[in-house]
């Protein structure tokens, strides 16, 4: 059974031209590769500290 109110919540306003700049700037472009590199660097730093 379709609940109108619940389904309506799934709809969000579309981006307007004025919002595009802020959307691009605020977008978090961190991906898995970045996380992996960060993890590798953290491991490398820890090894250096131990040494």
């Amino acid at each position: 059974m379709i609940n109108f109110e619940e389904e309506l919540k799934k709809f969000h306003p579309s981006l307007e031209i004025e919002d595009s700049e802020s959307d691009i700037y605020n977008r978090d472009l961190t991906d898995m590769a970045d996380l992996f590199i960060q993890l590798v660097k953290e491991d490398y730093d820890e090894e250096e500290i131990r040494e």
Binding site: I2, L8, S14, E16, S20, D23, M32, F36
Partner: protein, 471 residues
Amino acid sequence: MECYNCGARLSENDFCNACGVDVGKYKKIVYASNRAYNEGLERANVRDLSGAISCLKNCLKLNKNHIEARNLLGLIYFETGEAVAGLSEWVISRTIREEKNIANDFIDRVQSNQGRLESITTTIRKYNKALELCQQDSLDLAVIQLKKVLSMNPKYLQAHKLLALIYIEKAEYEKARRELERTLDIDRGNTDALLYFKEVDSILDPSEDRRNKGIFNSSKDNSGTKTYKAGNEVIIQPINDREPRGITAFIQIGLGFLIGLCVVYFLIVPAKVNDAKENMNADIAAYGETIDKKNAEITEYESRVSELENDNISLRDAVELYEGADGAIDANNYLLTAAYNYMTDAGYSEVESALDLIGNDYLEMASYEYNEVYGYLLTQIGPSVAGTYYEEGIAYFNQMDYASAIRSLSKAYMYNPANDDALYYLALSYYESGDVNTATEKFNELIAAFPTSAVSDKARAKIDEINSNQL
């Protein structure tokens, strides 16, 4: 693929040949992003845009620098009406790699068409307004807005879905179905649209309810009926009512056809036949009247023809009387000629010739005056003419030309009835020519006319001779 540490090109090994860092896991992440991109591309090719968006987002989560995935994602957003989201992706893509990037072309094309850009902006604005109206429970106004949006951008996916949802809420399931069909034409894999479509389908086609759980019943009436709107009509349908299918439907249609045929045969056909008969009878009566009329005319014409024929015969007889051998016209001419010849002293022979042409038959029916004139002329010329004919007749008799003698002596006697010798020799000519009966007749006439004449005695002797010969 480049090394994340030094940027050198990576080989097949799990380490960088330039800086020596471990790139095994990094490579796996990149490979996974490529797989996600490929899957997104496949889905986009079959119009499963929602599925493609999901795969491409996963690809970009694994590797944000995947230019192709980002460009494709922007393209899909643009196709589904989310133009600004698409432009954003292209801008980011251009930022990551400025040269040899198709995103530059996409952005240039959009920006070069200002009218189109404004139209896109307007549709987005109206859609957002419609969404706001829905949240404020102003569904009718929202419908109007959404219809405007879709008239400007028929591929605006979210607008189609929202409009379908509103129609479902208003129980206008036919309209909802149409909108959902359009949505699925744009994006075949849209799960929300598929879910809505399934619900709407189950309402519009209750026979499917037995296979599905959770039947949607829009009616609050507990009498076992469903009430819903189809366009401007409100339809009340029993829940468990099934439309006949297969053989049953065919039998029912056949029965209906048979009943229709019977109605036509027993009710309509007799009336038509009677009408036709009445028309025919009327025509026949009219033809009969015409025939009678014509027959009467024919009878009348026949009687007139008969009368005219009789008149014709009478007239011909009358004409013949005037123009025939003893016709009055000729007879009058002859008498006039004879009179003229007499008056002009043309000679007795001329007068006699004209009088001779007048037939005895005409004289019998001629008028008194005519006979008087004829008789006068005859007496004037008679003695002279009679003498001539007598001498001629005697000459012929002596030559034994009895036929000529008869002609001449007949005229001699006619013109001079006192000439007993002419009558005697006329009788003798008949006797000598073999016409005994006429001869006897003439002899008797002579005896009667001239009883004491010398030739009468000769006539009596001749008669006795004839009688004795006959005995």
